[in-house]
Subunit: 215 residues, 2 copies
Amino acid sequence: MLEAVAAPPTRKGPQTAGRIREAALELFSRLGFERVTMGEIAAAAGVSQATLHYHFDDKACLWRAAMLQLSAVIAEEERLLEAMADAPPEVQLRMAMKLFLRISWKHPALGRIVALEGMAGGERLAWLDAHLTGPRNRRLAEIAQAAIDSGALKPFPAPMLVITLQAASAGVINLAPMMRVSFGMDPSAPEARQAHEQLILDAILGGLLTHPTTP
Amino acid sequence: MLEAVAAPPTRKGPQTAGRIREAALELFSRLGFERVTMGEIAAAAGVSQATLHYHFDDKACLWRAAMLQLSAVIAEEERLLEAMADAPPEVQLRMAMKLFLRISWKHPALGRIVALEGMAGGERLAWLDAHLTGPRNRRLAEIAQAAIDSGALKPFPAPMLVITLQAASAGVINLAPMMRVSFGMDPSAPEARQAHEQLILDAILGGLLTHPTTP
DNA sequence: TCTATTTCTGATTAGAAAGTCAGAAATCCT
DNA sequence: AGGATTTCTGACTTTCTAATCAGAAATAGA
């Protein structure tokens, strides 16, 4: 069988397929596609290695299934952005940024995946762009461009703004192990998370708006 | 033989060892430790696979040698930071930031390595912290802390400032493939590089200083 | 209960990659 | 030139991993 998503709870297959996808997402995002073995995923999901190949044709297929699951969750959480399509650009921008930050913290796997595959290039990145990151990036870029056109935001290239925001938000979360090693500090502690969010907002709203607002 | 650095040019060994280190650095930084095979490195350096094991005991040893080479270059380029240890904190901070950005652009391998290993954790990260990234991070944090103590910089945790700067500068460079796929834009083009640098400086100097200065 | 279908597993296979080694080729020294 | 040393290579071994498959266990439906 292959990548089924919804199913009657009486059947047991989809349930274990879900456990496998979760384990795969965690491992893939933390270590990258080839650092993870099918055996590790199987162990993490509590099934045999052959079971992985029963539910998913091959390793690449399992990777895509895990990403699709993440994609669905995130798309759902970003739904509310569409509801404010006619708010002033500056308001939309601020809202989008906060949502972006919140999602980065809530789904650390996303940022890790983006860092890993967005750096390596290749067909997995192409797939990600089509199914997960591309639409997000371009929607955010549109909002930034509108803010620039309205004169609220300094005229930097919108893609550069988007990627920088991406890098600065997810990057800090990704580099948690490094922060621990270099500074003995845990960035996922609530107060650190708070400081990080405030830092990004201050930097962008204070430094990049034409009429700075530091709330 | 093992990790020799300087040598008489008449001997041929160190020269090929250098070529191997360069090829290794490029590949390791682009793909990560385990995505790269010894065969690929050998091919890129134009030698046989067995030659790699003649010059370096094993793969991990080659990885460290490549990192050490990078480390030496960077340490040299950051030497001039020590010369201004008694300048006012704000001046030092601005200088350090610009140097940091310049080095990120000049040695893209550094940022990729940091992203890859800083995210994965493990013994390679520990080694990096001891030999390359740790000293840099802590020196930059000291400068940031001095700027905070002097009242020039808003009182965010210095480690958070450092890691965010790291993530925002290197991150954009790392994500070049993603920018190409998502926006068809090449961030390594001179004008993009310029915009990126200005963006970071504006964000930090405009948004995080207590008395903003936007030059 | 009994049969068919779904779900899962142990055993196995094929292939890739790191690392070893004996010896060839190149270079140095006298 | 000629022996000694450094440098390099092809062929091999070992280990690890993805993928396959026949069949066991569990579940559903009559």
